[in-house]
């Protein structure tokens, strides 16, 4: 477990460092994820410690989002003034892109068969 955490934090540190040094628009943890994936592909196996600690974190991903999510209830006044436009863009826009992307992915995989 501790070894797994060490690996995760090390790759995050590496990613943050690269993100900072290259001024890339992609955040450090995402670069860290890609580097760890590359390392696992080279090594061809996942240690049990890494398996354990990554499982715990991934299983409770929504807990980690919770504090940011609460922010919806506390938006500033000038934003609330434009809420009808924002609400339509979010609800309808998300529904449209959900349906279209489901259709697109289905269409391609079927034609691959």
């Amino acid at each position: 477990m501790v070894r797994g955490l060490l690996v995760l934090f090390f790759f995050q540190w590496l990613g943050e460092w690269i993100s900072l040094a290259t001024q890339a628009p992609i955040p450090g943890p995402v670069i860290g994820m890609l580097l760890l994936l590359l390392a696992l592909l080279l090594r061809q196996k996942v240690s049990s410690g890494l398996q354990q600690s990554s499982h715990v974190l991934v299983q409770h991903l929504s807990l980690l989002f919770l504090p940011a999510g609460v922010g919806i209830f506390f938006l500033s006044k000038d934003v609330i003034a434009q809420w009808p436009a924002i609400a339509v863009a979010m609800v309808l826009g998300t529904l449209i892109s959900l349906v279209l992307s489901s259709w697109i992915v289905k269409k391609q995989v079927r034609s691959d068969d």
Binding site: V58, L64, V70, F73, A85, I86, T94, S97
Partner: protein, 244 residues
């Protein structure tokens, strides 16, 4: 004696340390309660821990007149752990890598088209409803995972607090409405469902995808990462091109 106790109590509540502990306890307790409701409702999306616990925490903050910024400062621990959690997504990605490689073409095409539709539909609908440029720029990155969305919003001069709110709301809405889209398109393959979830509902969609099964979650994390990278690389130019 009592006066002394009272004094030390007010000192304690103003301490940063205690604020952190209170925020952590509140978040964990609300999450626990949210999970209980979710299990009891047979995993109805409307009772997802993010929804139930989010409302509960907001209610507590309103009732005790605690500012959101104080709660946010106190709950930094969870935000901090989002970093290693993102890195941890590499493990399920590695375990599903064989399947991912088989579907590489469809994944890439779906992500590029889907990310464009997600950003385009939000800006178009918002614009038709009369939202202003600054708001449009803030909602354009609504389907991108929070850390990347904040980077994009900053780059294209959006309002960062609005972007955070819109991103999280989109994640919840996307996860709520996804079953509807799956039924409409009769999309039953959990791997393909994962792509749609990660593409439209980023981290929250991915959290829901992992509850379905590991392979759905792995595809969702991949789609989330690709959508973020693609949007970060293209949206600033698109905004400039259309003069929004």
């Amino acid at each position: 004696m009592i006066e002394q106790l009272k004094n030390s109590l007010t000192q304690l509540t103003s301490s940063e340390h205690l604020n952190q502990l209170s925020a952590i306890i509140l978040t964990l307790a609300a999450y626990q309660f949210g999970q209980f409701c979710y299990q009891r409702s047979n995993r109805l999306m409307l009772f997802h821990p993010v929804v139930i616990a989010g409302c509960m925490i907001a209610a507590v903050l309103f009732y005790f007149d605690i500012s959101y910024s104080q709660y946010r400062d106190g709950s930094q621990l969870f935000y901090f752990l989002l970093g290693p959690a993102t890195v941890a997504l590499a493990v399920p990605l590695y375990q599903e890598f064989r399947h991912i490689r088989q579907l590489a073409g469809p994944i890439l095409i779906t992500v590029m088209l889907g990310a464009t539709i997600a950003a385009g539909s939000a800006v178009l609908l918002g614009g038709l409803m009369g939202a202003e440029g600054e708001v449009l720029r803030s909602i354009a990155s609504k389907s991108v995972t929070t850390p990347i969305a904040l980077g994009i919003s900053d780059k294209i001069h959006g309002i960062s607090t609005l972007t955070t709110g819109v991103v999280v709301a989109t994640g919840i809405l996307g996860a709520l409405m996804a079953p509807l889209a799956f039924r409409l398109c009769s999309l039953t393959d959990p791997r393909l469902q994962g792509i749609v979830l990660g593409l439209n509902a980023h981290g929250i969609g991915t959290a829901v995808a992992f509850e379905k099964n590991a392979s759905c979650g792995a595809f969702s994390s991949l789609a989330m990462g690709l959508t973020g990278a693609f949007t970060a690389l293209t949206l600033p130019y698109a905004i400039h091109f259309f003069g929004i």
